[in-house]
Amino acid sequence: MIKISRYILVLTAVLVASIALPAFYWTVFEKVPRSPQIYYSCVTGDFIIADGNKRTDPSGKEFTLDEYERALPLLYFRQLMADGEMPDSIHGIKLEAPSISRASSFYRYTPRKLKTPVPTLYPMLESQSGKVNLAMPDDYFRIEKRMEFIVAKTNRINEEKSALFTDALIEEGFVFPAKIIAGIPTTRKSVDEGYFVTDSGGSLFHVKMIKGEPYVVRIETEEKLDIVYIEAVDLRSREFYCYVFTKNQGIFVVMDEVYDLQRLPVDGFNPEIHTFRINADLFNKCITVLGENWYQAIAVDDMYKVVGTHYEEWSGLYERAEGKAFASIFPFEIRMKDDNSAFIRFFFRPSPGYRWIIVNLVALIIAFIMIRRRGWAIGANIADLLIVGITGIYGLAATQFFPNKFTVNKQPNNK
């Protein structure tokens, strides 16, 4: 039992070391990862990559700041208007500030949005109150065995309203409970469109409240979608309601009013690890999918037809000097937090390659020598050596922190 208690301590120390030492290493040596912004210019008809202070086109031609702003007149129209350089029209379309800003939007999805604790209560705003300003309701709803509204002040369920909405959902074939509830739970938006909800069967519904009455629409999809994340957006152009991310069937937008699902021309998107950006303007939408060390940019026109693509890749973390050194020293690392998740977990990250085996071997030899010098029996220290062999310097430190002195069976030979 005492021996076991020591191994509990040693393994705890290995855990602590494999969290703390790599964290310290990265704090000292990690460099800012590249995160280029990609735009599609309606003037040059090509992509523009802004990376730090460097602005280039895909061929590598550099732009000065002025050239860059002139190439993206829809993004910098205020600056160009101030300079008197704003073109009157592009592609035969007259450019006016209100129409430019109405068509402009930016959205970004990161894997962190997928893996984050979400609330299970939401406010249902009145979407046609007749007032100019939206108002927060005094109750919150949840969709579990049924749809329930809980009045915050009394912490009691409003039975009448709950029954009204539950019945409306059942009528549309909703299977309780809800899996995803996505809306914009704030009054700081132009209009209220309620919530986009998936039921336990994975079907998609639109739920909102109009003059106190439930409004429920079942959104039909051509094929069964494995929806993992929905984000409602408040576009001034009112083009679509929300982005719908599926596990491996791609990304969709739900068109306003008609509820058609428009698939975005993005292939191989993995919502667990990829970042998605979309920059929309009057003429084009520039979609960027980013991996750890690459991006794929896709430009589409206003009919979602692809007008250009661009791919770029750079060296990954473990291909750079600091990452290579890391993978040589440490056999693995454990993180409590991960860039791709807001949850706390023991994220286990084995180091790529096999260079760490050398350091593990050195650690093993040191451990072996130390055991011999203390005159301990090797046989009684097999477990220690095994731990050092597998966990490298973490295990070496841990086994020295908690000395294995149960096994003294001969006097230390003072060499």
Partner: protein, 222 residues
């Protein structure tokens, strides 16, 4: 005999336990008076909103309390034993040395668990007046690591105090500090849910480790 040992342990820690209970009750009263006040003055719907969508918690005052309690109980229970190596007297009783240490330690742990469960129970009961389960459950998930951290602190501080060699006390303290910090990692409400089973398992395993330094103490390791 074990009754007397438990009585001896209780004498050592009773003052600390009562102070801890008093402080916890004060903290809980403070929490719910504040919630009641804010709900009256700020409006309940708004108050719920800041929890649900802004991530503000109403129980942050409880965060380091279990840590302090675990530390204080371990000190109250084990410092007197190390002064003049008094625990050696206990080890001379005609019972198994391990058995006696296990019982001392189990008693301390049981008192802490009871205290923490009372605090979490009262917290849940108080919260139920103002909030639905959709707010209470993530709150409990958020504070569970804090209380587990209190238990881990108790186990590891006992280990450190019974260790006879100062240099190793220092080394244990490094590991203990590194480990206990994990429980107090700042995170959004409910973010600890996936890691809780692992943390519970490790904390339960750590309840044994006092035997290690207890053994070294007995053998007069220098």
């Amino acid at each position: 005999m074990f009754k007397s040992i438990i009585y001896k342990e209780w004498i050592k820690i009773r003052l600390i336990v009562l102070i801890s209970l008093g402080l916890s009750l004060l903290a809980l009263i403070n929490i719910f008076l504040k919630v009641r006040h804010d709900i009256l003055f700020v409006d309940a719907a708004n108050y719920w909103y800041s929890f649900l969508f802004r991530g503000s918690t109403y129980f942050g005052i409880l965060k380091y309390l279990p840590f302090a309690i675990g530390l204080a109980v371990a000190i109250a229970q084990y410092i007197p034993e190390t002064v003049n190596k008094r625990i050696k007297l206990t080890f001379h009783l005609p019972v198994s040395e391990n058995g006696i240490l296990i019982r001392m330690h189990a008693f301390g742990a049981a008192v802490l668990v009871t205290l923490f469960l009372v605090v979490m129970g009262l917290f849940t009961a108080g919260s139920a007046i103002f909030f639905p389960s959709n707010i209470i459950n993530p709150s409990l998930v958020t504070m569970t690591p804090w209380f587990l951290g209190g238990m881990a602190t108790y186990f590891l501080v006992a280990l450190i105090l019974l260790e006879p060699v100062w240099i190793y006390r220092g080394l244990y303290a490094v590991v203990a500090a590194g480990f206990v910090t994990l429980f107090y990692t700042s995170a959004s409400i409910g973010a600890f849910r996936p890691v809780l089973p692992a943390l519970i398992l490790i904390t339960v395993l750590l309840s044994f480790v006092v035997l290690f330094s207890g053994y070294r103490f007995r053998k007069g390791e220098m």
